[in-house]
């Protein structure tokens, strides 16, 4: 498996509370406090790898830092630290402001959750799909028109819909336009930010099957972001579970959902409503998540809500340790390991 994307200790911080005004910062310095502004640690020291042709799932609840991580990978945001290597090219060197003109721009593209909001209301479907082709592939005129039409039909979009505006298309049709635009320039990595969250079940199935078929046809790699575990289970080979800016568990999707090791993943898997409920007593998370602002680096982020929180969790931050193909950031992972070995 050749590595396509190598993410190494990436972190992303935002000024907290919209940043202090000059007055407040001056007062802070007067009172001898650190001149550092309080920061939200949206993404905190995240490392993982995406291999060529692989579909990796990224799962986590709102506020866990998924979209910040995704926006740094696609170079819409600059990283605060760490490196993002696409093949042999280090992407984080060039600031995101000018990355739009970079020759590798076309290699990573993105499909957005609300397709309606991610297409300019004044653009027709044709304009939306042709824009990247004009800018990144310098196509014009007839060749442009042909390319747009081939990509549209590959995505199952009837050609007569190309002159429609977003508000004249159904949810499913808009999702197809979003996908067509992203694959038009032939990217190596396609980042999908909850592409079917806003769709009804019946439409969701069609779009998911389209995505799988496109991946087989063009050999792209996917990073599939979602809060819906049952969708991730169907589509992804491997899955990363994020909580408050850190990866707490990762591994083959089927195994992670069958026998989750990290307490948070266990709570997540237990919380998902199942069609054929086996009536087993469900693990419930109590309390509220810890604050992401200037978090204490040696306390486990899940401490306080974790059913197994002990003294060790309060003093040392559990590192992400590997157990074969599985990784988990918890001092007590071993407890669940024998069960995993005997089962698989």
């Amino acid at each position: 498996m050749t590595v396509l994307l190598d993410v190494e200790q990436v972190s992303k911080q935002f000024p907290a509370g919209g940043g202090l005004g000059p007055l407040a910062r001056f007062k802070r310095r007067l009172s001898g406090g650190p001149n550092l502004l309080p920061k939200v640690y949206a993404v905190d020291d995240v490392s993982f790898v995406i291999n060529k042709g692989e579909t990796v799932g990224l799962v986590g609840e709102s506020g866990c830092g998924k979209s910040s991580l995704v926006r740094t990978l696609t170079r819409l945001l600059d990283v605060t630290g760490g490196s993002i290597k696409l093949g042999d090219r280090e992407l984080s060197l060039k600031p995101s402001r000018v990355f739009a003109r970079d020759r590798d721009r076309a290699r990573i593209q993105m499909v957005f959750q609300d397709a309606g909001e991610s297409v300019n209301p004044r653009f027709t479907a044709f304009d939306a799909i042709s824009d990247p082709l004009r800018r990144l592939r310098k196509l014009r005129g007839k060749t442009l028109k042909e390319r747009v039409e081939t990509v549209a039909s590959q995505c199952g979009l009837p050609l007569q819909l190309l002159t429609r505006f977003p508000h004249q298309l159904s949810g499913g049709q808009r999702a197809r336009v979003g996908i067509a635009r992203a694959i038009a320039v032939g990217p190596d990595l396609l980042v999908l930010d909850e592409p079917t969250a806003a769709l009804d079940v019946s439409v969701q199935v069609v779009i998911l099957q389209l995505l799988q078929q496109l991946k087989r046809e063009f050999g792209m790699s996917y990073l599939f972001v979602s809060h819906d575990l049952s969708v991730v289970r169907l589509l992804c080979d491997r899955v990363l579970v994020m909580y408050l800016g850190k990866i707490v568990e990762s591994g083959p999707a089927a195994e992670v959902f069958q026998h989750p090791l990290h307490p948070y993943t266990q709570a997540l898997v237990a919380a998902v409503p199942r069609l054929h409920d086996d009536g087993v007593e469900r693990l419930r998370l109590s309390g509220e998540p810890r604050s992401p602002i200037d978090p204490d680096p040696n306390v486990c982020r899940f401490y306080g809500r974790c059913p197994r929180g002990t003294e060790a969790c309060k003093t040392t931050m559990p590192a992400l340790r590997s157990f074969g193909a599985r990784q988990v950031a918890c001092h007590f992972a071993e407890e669940f390991l024998p069960q995993v070995k005997s089962a698989s």
Partner: protein, 294 residues
């Protein structure tokens, strides 16, 4: 609620706008009426001097202060000039003042606001500081000050009206650009290789422009009122050029003594024009953004 999944039949962009606007005008006759009135005003502004029965400047003391009659539909003023001719000819000047100030304030306030909203940082702070300083003055008082300082030529009235409205446009443009700055389609545009300037010009502005157009038609009404107000206190257009504000000012003294037509007709024309622009503004707002119906 029910969102209709089946898309309506195929339409080109222009046909959609035409059908939409015909629907708005149809459903809201008031906007239709305002649009007709607007066309009338534009015609008066263009053809005015050629179709007017009398020469608006030619005085005839023997005919001074005659009430409205068959000869002089709007009567005559204190030095015998035909009030009707002057009112019609004045349309051109007032209309010009309105359009010029609105275009100027759009270029100054609108564009500065969009840039401030989109780029944020220093541009935002500078534009914000300028807007705050101008906003510290009551509108008309500042206009008075500017025109008094620069001299009351038509050109200065236009500049004063534009400066006074700068904060309003800057604020609207800034907020509309700001909410779109993080919109999905802007991020998609960046992914598609568009530079920030290209996104601002071809993606943000076309979405903000219609909202500013609505404001422009409301400001046209304000611009005429402002110019007339300045003339009324002797800071506007200098007599004898026919302009509604100055005509009302000159006629005011006679009104109290009973010769009402002298001030009434220019005042009425002024009101009708401003009324028309405001109604048009409301109609445009419905066309641009039905949700923001006021």
């Amino acid at each position: 609620m029910t969102d209709i999944a089946a898309a309506p039949p195929r339409e080109s962009a222009l046909a959609a706008l035409y059908k939409h606007s015909r629907y708005i005008i149809g459903e809201n006759p008031v906007t239709g009426f305002a649009f007709a009135l607007f066309v009338l005003i534009v015609l008066a502004a263009i053809l005015g001097p050629h179709i007017v029965p009398y020469d608006p400047l030619q005085s005839d003391t023997t005919q001074a202060l005659k009430p409205p009659s068959a000869h002089h539909w709007f009567g005559t003023d204190q030095i015998g000039r035909d009030v009707f001719s002057r009112v019609v000819v004045a349309t051109r000047l007032d209309f010009f003042i309105a359009v010029a100030s609105v275009v100027l304030v759009f270029l100054m306030g609108g564009l500065a606001g969009v840039a401030a909203g989109f780029f944020g940082g220093w541009t935002d702070r500078i534009v914000g500081r300028i807007a705050d300083t101008i906003m510290a003055f009551p509108l008309f008082v500042l206009a008075m000050g500017i025109v008094a300082a620069l001299g009351n030529t038509v050109q200065n009235i236009i500049i004063a009206t534009a400066i006074v409205n700068f904060p309003l446009y800057a604020r609207i443009a800034r907020s509309e650009a700001n909410i779109r700055r993080e919109a999905g389609f802007v991020e998609a545009a960046r992914l598609s290789g568009n530079s920030d300037w290209r996104i601002l010009a071809f993606q943000i502005l076309p979405n903000v422009f219609p909202i500013l157009v609505v404001q422009m038609s409301l400001t046209m009404g304000y611009a005429i009122l402002n110019a007339a107000g300045l003339s009324f206190i002797g800071l506007g257009v200098r007599p004898p050029t026919p302009e509604w504000g100055i005509m009302v000012a000159e006629g005011a003294a006679f009104m109290v003594a009973g010769e009402w037509w002298n001030a009434f007709f220019p005042g009425a024309a002024l009101m009708v024009a401003v009324f028309c622009f405001n109604l048009l503004g409301d109609g445009l707002r419905d066309m641009v953004d039905p949700r923001r119906r006021t």
